[in-house]
């Protein structure tokens, strides 16, 4: 009895379910039907079984659970009649999958059905096996299936072939058994069997190397002939699609040839003719033709080199690229990414088209094009490409901006020819898409900026202009604040103006406006505000004329509701108020952050965690206060333990003053108070082992192997996590230690051997001190920071420092921080000395300094002999 011809119950059920207006109603109907079915199952009535299963399948398709019907499938499969078996197998495939243990029970039925006399039943069994067999079943039934590959009926043969494909996937060990059978299938004329045979061979070749060898030797020529036959064949209406005879078979054959030709020159040779023929003769105005061409191009790319074929392939891809059909373009972009590997030039020719694809409205195409563009970038085209990409950044969608900006940043970083261009591009990206730019990107930018000392003035001016226009981009604001804080004096005094710049005048109060705006704006986040406070501290030293206003801003923040802000405000305020003498030394220019080290750390760092930024800063004061004063005075502790998270990100965060309670204060050894320096250094050396929350990972600078190798680490590079900060937050006793200490050159620091600073020259009115550092890995070169201290009550103007060295030394002078030396003030200047006789002769220098005082020119000169040995 056929459940479908009488069909009223099944059709009725479907109708009644469809007639339900609400989900609840539907659930009710389904529940009733399931109850009926369950009752019927319990009665074990064979007549209704198939109808029940059909209904169950429909209910399953609606999404309801139907586990109770699984045994019914098994019973139906075991029935003798064909319709029952059919519905049983159908139910099996729908309701079960290979992971269910119930499936094992079917193995026996399957085995019997595979040997059935009725070939339709055999077909059913093969179908079920091919779709859902598990590994054990595959192993058990493999011999049956293998035998069936040679069956007389082509329908069975093709099913057996695909079933074997699955078996071989599940149990790769059985591959060898099928090799012979598979190769005989390749000689078939029937397309269905042929295509399944090709499929099986492909699977065998990918799984088993010996099979691959076998097919390569025996079957390549046969396959090529088959492909040639169908390419050249006359019109066959049965298989024709858009003018191509059986494009599916074309595609499968090409795929198999690909596997056979890959890595083998002989096989590839044999194929070149037919591939060329397919590539040139196939019509490409319809999808079917393009599918064949696509596969052909993939095969050409994969087999061994024949350059003429490759050229052909890339031409085809070029044609695809300009096709109006999006699908074709997508496919072309995909393939071009592989083509770049061996023919970059040819792909470069299509650069313009690819760039246009980046702007396509379709998201899939945009993504592919962007990936391709980033592969195309090289030193020659980087400027142009970046320009185009940045132009597009301005008009692109929000969700695409993130990808695009990340790509632009990585391109710019890798390929930038000169620093000024890099800074320009990054500024543009930050202005447009600042909020999508990741932290390590703008950290890297700051490292580069600090390294490009000749561009400091330019950078800070450009940033100032940018921030005025694009003040909503958080990252831009942060970078700008940092730069204004560091190089504010360059900004205001128009120092280092490059020829290409438009002149602008920025007063101190303008610069201050920017920072004040950042602090007070309601949507600045905490890091920006914290950085702004640090910048204010720096500016209070660099812009003495408006220090009152700066002080006011800081004082206002003392009442801030954010703990971090409050804390910083209070500390900075006390520095500004009570510690003017060390303030200038604290906020000296940052040392140049070593790019190489930074990059290494960044590459090796843990995925930029955890915004250490957002950690509460509560524990810092406690942490430090907890370290007893005894420890602080422990001069001998050179044990600098690395903080647990010594990632590059932390390192820079501390330097930027973004991290908890750290301020990029400098302890310039020559300037800091003598004993205070000792204490400060001790604090630093203790600082790291203190509670983990205290991420004073700038200490990590000292503890990294790079630096440890190099004995003379200048104290300058000790950008400490705010020694004043620690000083101020621990007990008041610390304050007293710092108070009333006059600046004087400090003796050796306790942090490893460093070259002690010297007094190079001293007269009644002027004192010059040198402090030394060495670049790691370069023992011959010494960086000297010269500090000129005005001991007289008059101001010196137009100060010029000159120096001469003997022939075995090379000297390089950086511009001084200023040409005006105020009374009791100081200016600094960096020098670089390279000693070609390093180790044999020590440094010696003649120097001369000229300045004006009260309208009179004064010249002082002298010889410096007291350089430390070993420099």
């Amino acid at each position: 009895m056929n459940p479908f011809s009488s069909g009223t119950r099944l059709r009725d059920m479907i109708r009644s379910i469809r007639a339900c207006k609400t989900a609840a109603e539907e659930r009710g109907v389904v529940r009733k039907e399931c109850a009926d079915i369950r009752a019927s199952i319990n009665e074990n009535d064979p007549h209704d079984r198939h109808r029940n299963l059909a209904k169950l399948m429909f209910i399953h398709m609606l999404g309801y659970p139907t586990h109770f019907g699984q045994m019914e499938c098994l019973k139906l499969i075991a029935s003798p009649g064909f319709p029952e078996k059919r519905i049983g197998y159908l139910g099996l495939m729908l309701l079960l999958d290979e992971r269910q243990e119930v499936l094992m029970l079917v193995t026996n039925s399957l085995k019997q059905d595979l040997n059935h006399t009725n070939q339709y039943v055999v077909g059913l069994a093969l179908c079920a096996l091919g779709n859902i067999c598990s590994a054990e079943m595959a192993r058990d039934l493999a011999p049956e299936v293998e035998r069936l590959i040679q069956f007389r009926d082509p329908n069975i043969r093709k099913k057996a072939a695909l079933c074997s494909t699955r078996i071989v996937r599940k149990v790769p060990d059985l591959a060898e058994n099928f090799v012979n059978a598979a190769s005989s299938l390749l000689k078939e004329k029937h397309h269905g069997v042929l295509i399944t045979g090709v499929q099986l061979c492909y699977e065998l070749c990918t799984i088993n190397d010996e099979a691959l060898e076998y097919f390569r030797k025996k079957c390549t020529e046969g396959l090529i002939k088959t492909l040639r036959d169908i390419t050249n064949s006359a019109y066959q209406p049965e298989y024709d699609v858009a003018g191509i005879t059986d494009p599916f078979l074309h595609v499968r054959l090409l795929k198999l040839l690909r596997v056979l030709g890959h890595g083998d020159a002989d096989a590839s040779d044999l194929m070149t003719d037919i591939l060329a023929q397919v590539a040139t003769k196939t019509e490409s105005n319809k999808n079917a033709g393009n599918a064949v061409l696509y596969e052909c191009v993939e095969t050409i790319m994969a087999i061994e080199d024949t350059s003429s074929l490759r050229v052909l392939a890339i031409n085809i891809l070029g044609r695809f690229l300009s096709n109006r059909d999006n699908n074709i373009r997508y496919v072309a972009l995909n393939m071009l990414m592989k083509a770049i590997a061996f023919d970059d030039q040819a792909v470069q020719r299509h650069r313009v088209t690819i760039l246009n694809c980046v702007k396509d409205p379709d998201a899939s195409i945009r993504k592919r094009a962007l990936d391709l563009v980033s592969l195309l970038v090289n030193e020659n085209n980087v400027k142009q490409l970046t320009e185009e990409l940045i132009d597009y950044l301005e008009i692109s969608d929000e969700d695409f901006k993130e990808d695009l900006s990340a790509k632009i940043c990585s391109i710019v970083e890798k390929f930038s020819p000169e620093k000024i261009w890099y800074i320009d591009q990054m500024l543009k990206v930050l202005s447009e898409a600042g909020k999508f730019v990741k932290d390590d990107v703008w950290h890297a930018l700051i490292v580069v900026i600090s390294n490009a000392s000749e561009l400091h003035g330019y950078t800070v001016r450009a940033l100032y202009k940018a921030v005025l226009t694009f003040s909503e981009q958080e990252t831009l604001v942060r970078v700008a604040i940092w730069c204004i804080g560091e190089y504010g004096d360059l900004l205001v005094n128009n120092v280092g103006v490059l020829g290409i710049e438009d002149p602008i005048t920025v007063t101190e109060s303008d610069a201050l406006d920017v920072i004040e705006d950042a602090i007070t704006r309601h949507n600045s986040d905490m890091n920006t505000r914290a950085m702004a406070l640090v910048a204010l501290l720096k500016l209070s030293s660099r812009f003495p004329s408006i220090s009152e206003r700066i002080k006011d801003i800081i004082v206002k923040q003392k009442g801030s509701l954010l703990l971090e802000m409050q804390q910083r405000a209070i500390e900075f305020n006390s520095i500004v108020d009570r510690h003017k003498n060390i303030r200038s030394s604290l906020v000296e220019r940052m040392p140049v952050l070593d790019e190489a080290t930074f990059n290494v750390r960044r590459a090796g760092s843990l995925p930029a965690s955890v915004s250490t930024m957002s950690k509460p800063s509560v524990s810092i004061p406690n942490g430090v206060a907890a370290a007893p004063l005894v420890d602080l005075l422990d001069l001998g502790s050179d044990d600098i333990l690395a903080a647990p998270s010594s990632s590059g990100a932390d390192f820079l965060q501390d330097l930027l003053g973004v991290d908890l309670g750290s301020s990029p204060a400098q302890s310039d050894a020559t300037q800091a108070p003598k004993a205070g320096t000792d204490l400060l250094l001790d604090i630093l050396s203790i600082g790291t082992p203190s509670p983990a929350q205290n991420s004073t990972s700038s200490i990590d600078l000292l503890s990294t192997t790079d630096y440890n190798k190099n004995p003379s680490i200048a104290l300058e590079t000790l950008s400490s996590p705010a020694p004043p900060h620690k000083a101020t937050t621990s007990s008041a006793g610390m304050f007293d230690l710092l108070d009333g200490l006059s600046p004087s050159p400090s003796p050796e620091a306790t942090n490893g051997p460093v070259y002690p600073p010297i007094v190079a020259y001293e007269s009644i009115s002027l004192k010059i001190e040198f402090s030394f550092s060495k670049t790691p890995g370069n023992p011959q070169t010494t960086n000297v920071q010269a500090t000129f201290i005005n001991l007289s009550p008059n101001t010196f103007t137009d100060c010029i420092f000159q120096a001469a060295v003997p022939k075995f030394l090379q000297l390089h002078l950086d511009p001084a921080s200023s040409n005006t030396l105020p009374a009791s003030g100081n200016i600094t200047q960096n020098l670089r000395v390279t000693n070609s006789q390093h180790g044999k002769k020590s440094l010696v220098m003649r120097m001369r300094i000229g300045y004006k005082v009260n309208g009179k020119d004064v010249l002082e000169e002298g010889q410096i002999n007291n350089f430390p040995r070993g420099l």
């Binding site: 479908f4 399944t196 494009p247 074709i328």
Partner: protein
């Protein structure tokens, strides 16, 4: 290799779901929901290929039904687009101008046709005529 085939209407109801990889029931529902969401919002001028998890989905819309085929990332998308079209042609021939309702009431037949066309995630037969003939032979046995 084909991982699954889905036929869904615009409202998200699945009219046919054939999986060639094992998945839990809940996972299947999730997959169907996600694929539907991916596919239903795309403009008709966009490509017919979308990336889905670590595979890709090739889809085409025929009247109110989306035919989606999920394949491995290395497969030839254009060829699968052709195979979707072939399948639709077969259905059209079999049901004589097929509409969604035919597929609903005769779902078991649709599965049978599919099983004659694709097996173990690979194409089994490329001739429309052969498949239709086979189906009529099978019908006679019922």
């Amino acid at each position: 290799m084909i991982r699954f085939i889905l036929l869904q209407n615009r409202q998200g109801k699945t009219r046919l779901a054939k999986y060639y990889v094992p998945l839990e029931e809940s996972e299947k529902h999730k997959v169907e929901y996600e694929v539907h969401r991916l596919v239903v919002n795309r403009d008709s001028k966009f490509t017919n290929f979308v990336e889905f998890r670590t595979h890709k989905v090739i889809y085409r819309r025929y009247a109110g039904l989306f035919f989606s085929v999920c394949v491995d990332i290395t497969d030839n998308e254009l060829a699968y687009l052709e195979s979707i079209h072939l399948f639709v042609e077969i259905l059209d021939h079999f049901f004589s101008n097929v509409c969604e309702l035919d597929l609903v009431f005769n779902f078991h037949k649709v599965y049978l046709i599919l099983d004659e066309f694709i097996l173990a995630g690979e194409l089994q037969e490329t001739s429309k005529r052969a498949i239709i003939e086979r189906m009529s032979e099978l019908e006679k046995l019922d």
